[in-house]
Symmetry: C3
């Protein structure tokens, strides 16, 4: 029996390095299979989804993943148009979706929602983003992309730039990177530094520096992970405009980077990476989106097949 | 040829006891099949849906049912975002959905809408709730649950509690129960009693008593069917608050019930059944939801296969 | 290799008569196949859709087409509820959908959007309506319907009536008809005549007359193609009411038509064709909708199979 069978996927913190490597191997296998064999993996199985925050991107990634391995998807993509408007509890809605599916994907604004859902569901629950910190499948996608494009994770110098305070992606990625021996530089405006209440645990596993200046690090990085700076996070617009420009990745910045460095982004991108970058060999964010489909297919394949695939 | 082949499912009144029993047998068969064989039943067939009232719950039940027997679903889950906003008639929309599918599911606020749709559609139409009285697949689901959990329907004492005036579920269930020899007790606030204009026909087939006090019946019931009391049904809030508490099913009430009694609910539940009840052996409402998937799968399998399955 | 393999479908102007005839032959084949063999054509393939204007009708036609040939569909049916609200560019959204699918369908209000999308996508892009003039799959559906119902296109007298100024359907149809030797009569209120800036190219290929009076042509036509006159197109309501009645096709008008003439409409229809017409042998608009499913299935089958089907 494979160790992921019927297991929930709630937090990246629950995964050991060894487990991550196994998922990466399964992802390699997914990619190497021809489409016809791939579709046998979850043939006739159903993925349920339940989104309390709309996220077309994440939902489609799971749907495409499930389709690629032969399964189908159904669920609630926007809870505001559903029966829960009538006041149904999360627990009841989760139970219903679990009746209609073999595994379920949940996105919810509250911390702990996925773990709670996993307790009431008798089908495996996959956290597609919850609260302020957890987005485990995004972290797995990000780690896989680094590994695939740099051939390793250990030993890399990784810059993470943008809004580090908000956005669960960064927290999940840092926890995931905690399994590896990496040199991480967090680069953000003062007001968007990583939350100190969240770093205690991360610091036990990971060394990182913090700074506000991307230029200080740019020539040294193997991986530049860019995130969006959202206007609505700033108390006044002036402060937003002040920092906005300084973190835009353009050709000028790219020229200072190592030749074999890679640029990642969880997408959607607004203007924090110039479109000039898109066709350079360093731009890997669309590749990252494609890997996201395959890492999710691997996770679903492992979760739903007793003997793996 | 099976008698349900290509037949519309418009009203529970159209089904004889014998027909209901045949559907229950087919549902038993659906449940007993392994998932792989089950998926052959409607392999490659398409269910169209057309919802003039949003009902995520019912739509997902049909979608999950169709997926479990190998078919797929497409349609309009919320008519307000569709071409009918441009003023297209129900008849035309029904014709189009019927072109795109092998059978169609319709939910519509008006009485008679499904029968009308069946006339213009050249594919079978399944009523997923229309007007004030009809929700035949819910009634079949409810009857099947009773039969399965109590091993019979004849001879049972069945309490139906809550808002009996509004909500098509109760009317359909009563018509369905009219095929059996049961002792029905309707329990509701005065202002939410079953509509007298709807009971004429029911009374011809079914004996029932009406009362306002659940305590008078609770120790005698084999089945307690609970429905939601919707705040918006009351002209003023005070009257709502007055009756609200008296119909909440909690552990205290359960203790007065027979040991082998069962509690049902069409869901979604708000607070009319305490969550304390959920883990008791008497709570069968989630089981009921699961049976709903299989009764619908059986109905679709019979409707779409000349020789049954 | 079939010439349509991996090709974008952007404009009806890109199709030669010979190519149209090949698509018609493939559609004939789709129709002649039994459903089980038909479903092998795109088994396990995924169609992505991306709608910047809602169009339930067109989306469902593609979904039903894809389902009929064994594929599945996923995407964004209403961009307003998606990540692009966060400001993502069309190019990025197209790239993502193309990662998740084998071919993609795009509807967008701007001229040139599909051609742009085809440039950034590495999967084939099918234009499901863009700007003021392009709706190539609708034109192919319309031409196929004429050919199928009249056994030919060359030599026919075709009246196109209604709002010819707005609505991309008419422009695409005229470009398509430009490949044939037909006698076209455009009939519309003065204020809704075809746009002169769009007719230059059409005139090079197609002879047509323009008039305001449907009665002048009605007894002569082989095909009457009716389009909706939208109230919102008129600067004041009085002018709308003035012209509205004169283009309603009813039994009185039908009686003046040739016995074997056919009436088409891209649907949805409001009241420009009386429902009295629906059951006459001349009414072919629902047939046209069904052919739309099969022409799209043929296009998808050709686009996604190197050696055709």
């Amino acid at each position: 029996m494979n160790e992921f069978y019927q297991k929930d996927i709630i937090s990246i913190k629950d995964f050991s390095k060894d487990q991550l490597e196994k998922i990466f191997e399964s992802t390699d296998k997914i990619i190497s299979l021809n489409p016809i064999d791939r579709r046998e993996i979850c043939k006739g199985k159903t993925l349920g989804y339940l989104f309390y925050e709309p996220s077309t991107r994440t939902r489609l990634s799971f749907e495409a993943a499930m389709a690629s391995i032969g399964g189908n998807s159904l669920g609630i993509s926007d809870i505001t148009s559903s029966s829960t408007q009538k006041g149904e509890s999360l627990a009841d809605t989760v139970r219903i979706i679990s009746i209609y599916s073999d595994a379920m994907v949940l996105r919810h604004p509250l911390d702990g929602s996925s773990r709670f859902a996993a307790e009431v569901s008798d089908k495996p629950v996959i956290n597609a983003g919850s609260g302020t910190e957890e987005h485990p499948t995004q972290a797995i996608q990000d780690l896989y992309t680094i590994k695939k494009e740099k051939r390793k994770i250990d030993g890399l110098k990784i810059g993470i730039v943008g809004d580090l305070k908000y956005g669960r992606t960064v927290y999940s990625l840092l926890h995931g990177l905690g399994n590896y021996d990496v040199d991480v530089r967090l680069i953000s405006p003062e007001s968007l530094r990583i939350r100190s209440d969240s770093t205690y645990e991360i610091k036990k596993k990971l060394d990182y520096t913090e700074s506000t200046n991307i230029e200080d690090h740019i020539d040294d990085l193997d991986v530049l992970y860019v995130t969006r700076i959202q206007k609505e996070r700033f108390p006044d617009e002036e402060e937003y405009l002040k920092v906005k420009g300084s973190y835009v990745v353009g050709l000028d910045l790219l020229q200072q980077m190592k030749d074999d460095s890679i640029i990642l982004h969880p997408l959607p991108r607004i203007d924090e990476i110039s479109t000039d970058i898109d066709k350079t060999k360093n731009a890997k964010y669309f590749q990252q989106a494609e890997y996201g489909k395959y890492t999710r297919a691997a996770l679903l394949g492992l979760t739903l097949n007793e003997n793996g695939f």
